[in-house]
């Protein structure tokens, strides 16, 4: 399904909507950019340049479909620190040296894109990324608090902030604090207002408009003394944003003189890695916003963004990334194409040139309010509170990364986070070697099922963690987006939280694009926490009771199915089951345990559907298997028989007088299936025409009767919930036909 074509034709279709959306986008891009620039300790327009360069040059060749480009927020801390490290007290020199790092980092991103390494965002554990985002949130908030309250004290990190809190409170400037608080209040309360006019204008624009009015009223630009209740307060242009009067003055050139130093290259790596991570994260998030459900090309996006970053760096701008905030504003205002980005760039450029005198009047505190809100969103308190449910391991990863990032910097934080994650995996796997072998060995097989064309089976073996997830992703990516995927993890011994999270995301995306996706085979894995996305692993021993255990998505779906049909659903794992011994199919197999039992009735005849773990052979020759079977319990005895799909050899054998029972009036049934029974007369009497007709149309399983019950068995693997639904449907209909 594609409503919009690519290239010129697509632009023709979408330009009207894009133009309208771009107005809102431009209005939000300016305050956001100015704020990021200020917080980064560079001239504020340096963070607006990427929006313009991104829109005017990058968007034409972008890998995305509704991507509006902007400046990376995660780089705020890195930039501020780098400018000081490189330039010392000379901030302008520091800025120019930093621009050189931006240009080279852009080159690195371009290379990453050319080598198709867009997966870099997947190669970092989920909890480390969450922790990084929270850390950046904290860094932004800490940096903005002095500006928000109008204090001249600028603590460099959170510990400094706590230490200097008493001085900070003493140096608060109330008129500045007031506009800061108003700005914060607007940012936090805006989503709750239902009034159409308030809603139509984005919160950041309200902040800018109100704050400009406020600064005019109080005369910030003239540097007045205010007297309120006998207290004197000074307001002056130092509390306002500092913009060059001529736009050309905003252009700066990079200074490459430091390229031989290690410090410089540290910064290059930091800029390249962080903006790639944030870029990939937002590109994926933007895809989920797309009303037309298109998929953007991450590698292409990485390439063009790298190219744009080089260009932006040369004229004095920060790196470019796909921006989630402007893109989502654009989409919510009906933007549908890449032209949105071009229009917003033109508008931003025009507004900055035409309104630079008015923009000069924005108080810093107002922009600080916008940024504190952004920082709070990045910190994401709700997500943090959720982590303890995923398991103790994720708490350790999260908190160690957060603390290290706040103490040192983001790159050290990422490295420590990855190391801690690997250590936890090594402890869980009890082997270092296993962890390294998975790096070099394939572990995924994906193939089409025999009978259904659009059904794919993906099997994962051994260990599956964030390091080899790209293999699994590549295998699934080449499957058509409207196909049905059964991801079988029954052979996987270990699946980490990052993969579980990626899979949940993959499931969402695949279903949104018209396919079907189900994870099967982890119902009996252990988990470290009480969360559907917690790490899963195999272990000897008894599973905890169903009430104490978190259900997999398959179990949840089956539970919902049972509720809908008003069937019973028993989650407990039962061992030493003897029910199966009477069936020929299990004659040479030993049933270890049964679980996930669905129980229903049709006229006092019972239907049970359950997962069965069984094995063949013993000791070191044991081969363990899983399947899902249905048993129809009948009140009246029936003859013994088996029905299986007929194969070539049997067809030959049947001529020679074997005991395949054929029915003259049901040629198709007789040809496709092999029916055997010890009492042919009774079997013929039992298989009445309507039953034969039903089986001829519907049968895709093996059937076996044991006198008072019928075993129905599919493939030798657990069934997905969709397949269980089909099985239930088959069983009920078959019972009705038999009882009729």
């Amino acid at each position: 399904m594609k409503l919009f074509s690519n290239g010129l034709k697509g632009w023709k279709q979408s330009w009207k909507g894009d133009l309208r959306a771009s107005i809102s986008v431009a209005f939000i891009a300016i305050p956001l950019g100015l704020g990021i620039g200020l917080a980064s300790g560079v001239p504020p327009l340096a963070a607006v340049i990427p929006c313009v360069v991104g829109g005017l040059f990058v968007s034409w060749i972008s890998g995305g479909n509704i991507t509006v480009h902007s400046t990376p927020k995660m780089l705020i801390g890195v930039t501020a620190a780098a400018v000081v490290t490189l330039g010392g007290t000379n901030l302008l020199l520091g800025y120019q040296l930093f621009l050189a790092a931006v240009v080279i980092a852009g080159g690195i991103q371009l290379l990453l894109g050319l080598f198709r390494l867009g997966v870099i965002g997947d190669l970092i554990p989920a909890s480390v990324i969450k922790s990084l985002l929270s850390a950046v949130g904290v860094i932004i908030i800490v940096k903005q608090i002095p500006d928000l309250v109008g204090s001249p004290i600028h603590p460099s990190n959170i510990i400094d902030l706590i230490k200097s809190l008493p001085e900070l409170i003493q140096s608060v400037n109330p008129p500045v604090l007031l506009i800061g608080s108003i700005s914060l209040a607007i940012m936090f309360l805006h989503p709750r207002f239902e009034f159409p006019i308030i809603k139509a204008v984005p919160s950041a624009v309200w902040v800018v408009l109100l704050s400009i009015a406020y600064s005019y009223t109080l005369g910030f630009s003239d540097g007045k003394q205010l007297t309120i209740l006998d207290y004197n307060f000074a307001v002056g242009s130092s509390y306002l944003i500092d913009l060059p009067s001529n736009i050309v003055d905003a252009i700066a050139t990079p200074n490459f003189s430091q390229w031989k130093t290690g410090v410089f290259w540290n910064i290059v790596v930091a800029v390249a890695v962080i903006s790639s991570i944030e870029g990939v994260l937002s590109a994926k998030a933007i895809d989920r916003l797309d009303p037309l459900k298109r998929k953007s090309n991450l590698n292409k996006e990485l390439r063009v963004v790298g190219l744009g970053t080089i260009f932006s760096g040369f004229i004095g701008g920060l790196p470019i990334i796909p921006g989630i905030v402007p893109s989502s504003v654009g989409v919510s205002h009906n933007g549908k194409g890449q032209l949105m980005d071009v229009f917003q760039a033109l508008l931003v450029l025009a507004l900055v040139v035409l309104l630079s005198n008015q923009l000069q009047h924005i108080p810093l505190a107002a922009l600080a309010g916008i940024l504190v809100h952004t920082g709070y969103k990045l910190f994401n308190l709700k997500e943090i509170l959720n982590i303890y449910r995923i398991g103790w391991d994720q708490i350790i990863i999260f908190s160690s990364t957060l603390i290290i990032t706040l103490m040192y910097d983001l790159i050290v934080g990422i490295s420590i986070g990855i190391l801690v994650t690997l250590t936890i995996h090594i402890i869980k796997l009890r082997s270092v070697i296993k962890l390294f072998t998975i790096l070099f060995r394939p572990n995924v097989v994906a193939y089409q099922e025999y009978d259904e064309y659009f059904k794919f089976h993906v099997s994962v073996k051994g260990y599956c963690n964030f390091l080899n997830y790209p293999r699994l992703k590549n295998a699934m990516d080449v499957i058509p987006s409207d196909a049905s995927i059964n991801l079988d993890l029954s052979l996987a011994e270990f699946i980490d939280h990052t993969v579980m999270e990626h899979l949940a995301e993959y499931e969402e995306n695949h279903i949104r694009r018209g396919g079907n996706f189900e994870v099967i085979g982890i119902d009996k894995h252990f988990s470290t926490g009480n969360h559907p996305l917690a790490m899963r692993f195999k272990k000897e021993g008894k599973l905890p009771l169903p009430e104490e255990r978190i259900l997999t998505s398959r179990q949840q779906k089956m539970q919902a199915l049972a509720q809908k049909l008003e069937w019973g659903f028993d989650l407990s794992v039962r061992r030493y089951i003897t029910t199966f011994e009477k069936f020929h199919f299990f004659k040479f197999k030993t049933v270890d345990s049964v679980y996930n039992k669905l129980i229903g009735t049709v006229d006092t005849n019972a239907i049970t559907i359950q997962d069965v773990d069984f094995h063949e052979g013993e000791l070191q020759f044991k081969s363990e298997r899983q399947t899902t079977v249905a048993i129809l319990g009948l009140n009246e005895p029936i003859p013994l028989f088996t029905i299986e799909k007929e194969n070539f050899l049997d067809r030959v054998a049947a001529f020679a007088g074997y005991d395949d029972i054929d029915f003259q009036n049901f040629k198709k049934f007789s040809n496709t299936f092999r029916l055997k029974g010890d009492d042919e007369k009774a079997v013929r009497a039992f298989f009445k025409p309507d039953l034969l007709q039903f089986l001829e149309e519907e049968l895709q399983y093996k059937l076996e009767s044991a006198g008072n019950s019928i075993l129905i068995i599919g493939k030798e693997r657990p069934m997905s919930e969709a397949e269980v639904q089909n099985l239930i449907h088959f069983c009920t209909r078959m019972l009705y036909v038999i009882l009729r």
Partner: protein, 289 residues
């Protein structure tokens, strides 16, 4: 095209280990089914005590004593066994192996694996002796695009019939790189899907003609499956996932050395983690004989 069957001489190495008895019983049973002679190779000095013990074991299996030859050889196990196979024009060597090996053993190589790498005759690696004894139902055979494949598939079919197997699945591993394994966005996905379909159709035609030939000599029920994936690995994983009892593969084109284990490929994937019993079909042996 030379084919190695019917197997006229079967050999197995016999040591006095806990598995020796099972191994001997299994080999004798296979020899009986194939109506072949059996060579028992023991690496070690010949003593009357050992000979008596072996003869007792042979009597227990109930095989015709005339058809059994017991050989004692001294020296390096792998070389002794291979020499004996050559001298006795053995068609099929049976060896027992563990499913998984630890890393050290994997790189230094166990006897069974080294036999697989070096043998000039076909070889049957038994991991799961009891399953073969019960029933071998599912056979998976490699259908890669190679000159040897036809002979291998026919051998698998012959052997499957002898063992009384039910199904045989020809698995064709297609190198995903052949189609440009890219699906970064919708356009690429569509292009890749189209290329894959085309390639799959071609491969299916090839397999179908192979199947037709098989059906002429009365085969088992044959399925086939084209899978995009790494050669050697994919078929092993498929066999595990589908509970195959016997995997039949082509012999390696060149002798496998230590470097092949470091940079694992093809047969080495299967050898490092045996999914089930493995049969490596070697067609050159017949030409030499």
């Amino acid at each position: 095209m030379p084919v190695p069957f019917p197997f006229k001489t079967v050999a197995t190495a016999i040591a006095f280990s806990p598995y020796a008895e099972a191994n001997l019983h299994e080999s004798a049973r296979i020899a009986k089914m194939l109506n072949a002679n059996l060579v028992l190779i023991h690496v070690g000095a010949e003593t009357t005590e050992k000979l008596n013990q072996l003869e007792l074991l042979v009597t227990q299996t109930g095989i015709d004593k005339e058809r059994v030859k017991i050989e004692f050889r001294e020296g390096d196990a792998v070389n002794c066994i291979l020499d004996s196979c050559k001298e006795n024009t053995v068609d099929l060597l049976i060896a027992g192996a563990m499913k998984k090996e630890n890393l050290l053993k994997f790189y230094t190589g166990s006897i069974a694996r080294n036999l697989c790498r070096k043998a000039e005759c076909s070889i049957l690696l038994l991991t799961d002796r009891s399953v073969i004894r019960n029933k071998c139902r599912e056979i998976v055979v490699s259908g890669s695009n190679h000159d040897k494949t036809e002979g291998t598939v026919r051998t698998a079919n012959y052997f499957g019939k002898v063992l009384g197997a039910e199904h045989i699945t020809i698995v064709d591993e297609i190198d995903p790189k052949a189609t440009g394994n890219q699906a970064d966005d919708d356009a690429q996905l569509a292009e890749t899907a189209l290329k894959r379909k085309e390639l799959q159709r071609k491969e299916e035609e090839r397999i179908s003609s192979l199947k037709e030939q098989l059906e002429l000599d009365g085969s088992l029920s044959v399925n086939h499956k084209c899978i995009f994936g790494k050669a050697g690995y994919t078929i092993g994983h498929y066999s595990t996932a589908n509970g195959a009892d016997l995997l039949v593969m082509n012999s390696p084109d060149s002798k496998l050395g230590i470097m092949d284990r470091v940079f694992t490929h093809d047969l080495e994937y299967v050898l490092s983690d045996l999914p089930c019993c493995l049969m490596i079909v070697n067609q050159t042996a017949k030409v030499i004989a």
